[in-house]
């Protein structure tokens, strides 16, 4: 009964089908085939990426749990661990921006609290087409309010993130959401079904027909009636998730359960088989006991539904009543739907008949991995020789233009919609280089950032990926935190295209190299392939989420200039590099050239130096140089200050003025310190082999830069700040 057409509908190849028959020991029925199809999909099975992800370093002294669970876990001392992970929700967010983004938040939160951790922060990395197109604006407006709608309601602060704009995201926006949780080390839970005879409980929302794997079935199988009822986008219910969160944390805190798993992609199928496989057990489930929202659902539909806000628990028979009591307190049902058994098989019945009987190991662990054909990415379009590139007539105007460009402009329009303060831990609000969270009852603080410049990765995936890691760590160093662990979301096009696979391989190589240099383990992440619409792939977009730790929160440093009369020190070396810069893109309309070079060892030395200087109490402000280069970094430091202090800078590098002001050479940081401390700071740098020089003073109401005494630009801080702040709202308020 299973033919080529059905296999195509399930995105399985004939070879894969033969393997399934082999593993199951018989021809699977349609429901069993459906289970394999979702569990062996790219999304769940990591078919195309697995062989490459092995390159990433995953070990480290803080690592409690690396890749392979719902989220990574790191030990932060004092009996506490952090749990964190990033996920994409790209496609749903294009189809239904509000709900797509909202359910993205809901999903990543569940990944965190399913491990016993209370989510304490969310960050979001967003990419859209340029905001001058109303379609892009409406997607952005929906996505931002969706993230706000879910995160604000459930009471987890959205403390940071990033927003980039490029036409490659016109039809394929990226919505990556990161979540950080905090737990006691002895209260961590895993997605394991252990102990024959233990009960399997279903908690949370009822199962509906929503989200059933879109590509899996033709309408003829279910009839047109069912088909039109099957949206692939689900509606999030943050209120239900809040109840679920509190109830789950309560049963875990009281030690009432054995294992727990959220139902995310592939829903009940994934959670039951994974829990059994991880526990080395089998599982029996009675689908008639599964709470259902709609009448007449088939086993196929119940098993493959991706309805949100559901979890699966395993508890000893003795504790079932106590678990149910906790859930009842939170107005939730917790019916027993099955049992853990010996034997390694999932046996699922429906109306008294066994409808699924398959080995869980095959479903969960034996999905084939492919080394897909790849070709090295084409070299980037050459940038015109610098000599042929006209120097701007007025560098002040260029600075203002860059400050207004959507990628660089102030993102307050976005983060003002997010509750970034709930839980009263947020020390640095969005806008600083990294978000900073205090840990109540401790001197320590956690810093978190998301980073990834996809223009660099498009021009050179390996360098771009290295820079993403370096920049994220640099952001942490700027607030005074040391990186301890990494999660990543790899957003790429169709892996069956050899060029895309080439980009992927190189990007992963770059990531691995940089993480090794910084000595930070990758504890998990997510791969999102098939970001292609109408045949066009997005830029390869790796997004790095890096967590850092600060031992003494009183030493934290923020980016804003603190007062007039402080000395400005530029850490790192500037080169004549304009490839891949915002300047080239915004002013000359070119996405071309090689991205700036990065020397990882030098980068590390620069960051170590900064951390040492912060620890010694020498640093009054620190801000890293990224998009828009030195001029933009100076401007942002001026804007972030409580009093909007300007600066007077004089540089003696013999570079083209535009490269000096707007070039994006890596590993650089602008630091301010008291004038009396400049000597000590520079000595400390020299001792570590870090290039650093005093370049001027803060003060005045202007940002002024000279090159060997010749004035390159002079812009009033107030005016520049207004342009930077008004840009984003300007796109949205025209309609009023």
């Amino acid at each position: 009964m299973i033919d080529k057409k059905i296999l195509d509908q399930h995105s399985l190849t004939e070879d894969e089908y033969r393997l399934i028959v082999d593993l199951v020991g018989k021809e699977p029925n349609l429901t069993e085939l459906g289970i394999f199809s979702v569990m062996w999909s790219e999304h769940c099975g990591y078919k195309s990426s697995r062989v490459h992800l092995k390159k990433l370093p995953t070990e480290g002294k803080h690592v409690v749990q690396g890749p392979g669970e719902n989220a990574g876990i790191l030990d932060i001392g004092d009996g506490q661990v952090i749990v964190f992970k990033i996920e994409s929700h790209n496609h749903p967010s294009y189809i239904e921006p509000y709900q797509g983004a909202a359910t993205g938040v809901g999903g990543i939160l569940r990944d965190i609290f399913t491990m016993g951790a209370r989510p304490i922060a969310v960050l979001d990395s967003l990419r859209f087409g340029p905001p001058d197109d109303p379609k892009n604006r409406s997607v952005m407006e929906g996505v931002v309010s969706g993230i706000a709608g879910y995160g604000n309601s459930i009471g987890v602060p959205t403390v940071g993130g990033e927003v980039y704009f490029d036409p490659c995201y016109n039809l394929n926006p990226l919505v990556n959401v990161f979540c950080l949780g905090l737990a006691d080390k002895d209260k961590i839970f895993y997605a394991k079904a252990e102990g024959a005879g233990n009960k399997v409980l279903y908690v949370g929302a009822k199962t509906g027909r929503d989200g059933i794997h879109g590509a899996t079935m033709a309408s003829s199988e279910f009839g047109a009636e069912t088909e039109h009822k099957r949206p692939n986008v689900q509606v999030g219910d943050p209120f239900k998730e809040k109840l679920l969160l509190e109830a789950c944390l309560e049963v875990m805190d009281r030690g009432l359960i054995v294992g727990i798993q959220d139902m995310g992609a592939a829903g009940l199928t994934c959670s039951t088989t994974e829990m059994a496989a991880k526990g080395g057990m089998g599982i029996v489930v009675d689908l008639d006991k599964v709470p259902q929202r709609e009448a007449g659902m088939t086993p196929y539909e119940i098993l493959l539904s991706e309805s949100q806000e559901r979890m699966l628990l395993v508890a000893t028979p003795d504790n079932v009543a106590a678990v149910q009591e906790v859930f009842a307190k939170w107005d939730l049902d917790a019916p027993v739907i099955g049992e853990v058994v010996e034997g390694g098989r999932a046996r699922i019945s429906f109306k008294g008949e066994v409808v699924v009987d398959i080995p869980v190991d095959a479903v969960v662990n034996l999905c084939p991995a492919y080394t897909r054909p790849s070709v090295a990415p084409a070299p980037p379009p050459a940038a015109p020789a610098l000599d042929s590139l006209p120097l701007p007539a007025d560098c002040g105007e260029v600075l203002l233009k860059l400050l207004a460009s959507p990628t660089i402009a102030d993102k307050e329009w976005v983060f003002r919609q997010y509750d970034h303060m709930v839980q009263v831990n947020t020390v640095f609000l969005p806008g600083a280089d990294a978000a900073l969270l205090r840990i109540k009852g401790s001197k320590k603080a956690l810093a978190v950032t998301l980073d990834g410049n996809s223009l660099y990765t498009r021009l050179d995936p390996r360098t771009g990926a290295r820079i993403a890691v370096a920049e994220a760590c640099r952001n942490l160093a700027c607030v005074g935190a040391r990186p301890i662990g990494v999660t990543n979301c790899l957003n790429f096009g169709n892996p069956e295209k050899p060029e895309v696979m080439g980009q992927f391989e190189q990007a992963v190589t770059g990531l691995a190299e940089a993480c090794r240099t910084f000595g930070i383990p990758v504890t998990g992440g997510n791969v999102s392939f098939y970001n292609d619409t109408e045949g066009l792939s997005i830029h390869p977009t790796p997004v790095l989420g890096i967590v850092g730790i600060l031992d003494d929160i009183r030493k934290a440093v923020s980016p804003g200039f603190k007062a007039a009369g402080d000395a400005l020190v530029l850490v790192g070396e500037s080169f004549e590099e304009l490839g891949g810069s915002e300047y080239l893109k915004v002013v000359h309309g070119l996405e071309a050239g090689a991205p700036p070079a990065i020397d990882l060892e030098q980068e590390k030395r620069n960051q170590e130096f900064l951390l040492e200087a912060v620890d010694a109490g020498l640093v009054r402000s620190a801000h890293d140089l990224s998009e828009g280069g030195l001029a933009v970094a100076l401007a942002e430091s001026a804007f972030h200050g409580a009093r909007k202090v300007g600066c007077e800078v004089d540089l003696d590098e013999a570079l083209r003025a535009d490269a000096l002001l707007f070039g994006e050479s890596q590993s650089r940081i602008v630091v301010t310190c008291r004038r009396a401390n400049v000597g000590r700071l520079l000595e400390m740098a020299a001792a570590r082999g870090v290039p650093a020089k005093a370049i001027g003073l803060t003060g005045g109401a202007e940002i002024a830069v000279r090159q060997s005494g010749r004035e390159l630009l002079r812009v009033p801080v107030e005016k520049a700040c207004r342009i930077w702040k008004d840009s984003m709202p300007g796109f949205f308020e025209v309609r009023a």
Binding site: I95, E96, Q99, A205, G208, R209, D210, K229, R230, P231, V233, Q234, V235, G236, D237, F239, K240, R293, E294, S307, Q308, D331
Partner: protein, 87 residues
């Protein structure tokens, strides 16, 4: 001419607001309420439109602007003179 457009989630889509209202009504003792679905209503004042024009215009606006056809459905009617409303 006044028209009324009702927008609500398709029947197969979860309606968390309606569910929460239903639960609240049950807690308050209104046991007869078996189900609640919540949606949005828009009342548009169309100037100088004929019935025929409205019949093309309104569904177009509903589909393009007021509802997302992926998860929502809509229904509309022309309001007669009355447009009554209690208290």
């Amino acid at each position: 001419m006044k028209v009324r457009i009702l927008v609500s989630f398709k029947d197969s889509v979860l309606d968390p607001q309606g569910q929460t209202v239903k639960n609240a009504l049950h807690t308050m003792g209104y046991a007869a309420v078996k189900d609640v679905r919540q949606g949005k209503v828009f009342e548009l004042d169309l100037e100088g439109a004929t019935k025929k024009e409205a019949e093309t215009l309104v569904p177009e606006i509903a589909r393009r602007v007021l509802a997302n056809p992926i998860i929502e459905k809509f229904d509309w009617e022309i309001l007669k003179g009355r447009q009554g409303s209690s208290p």
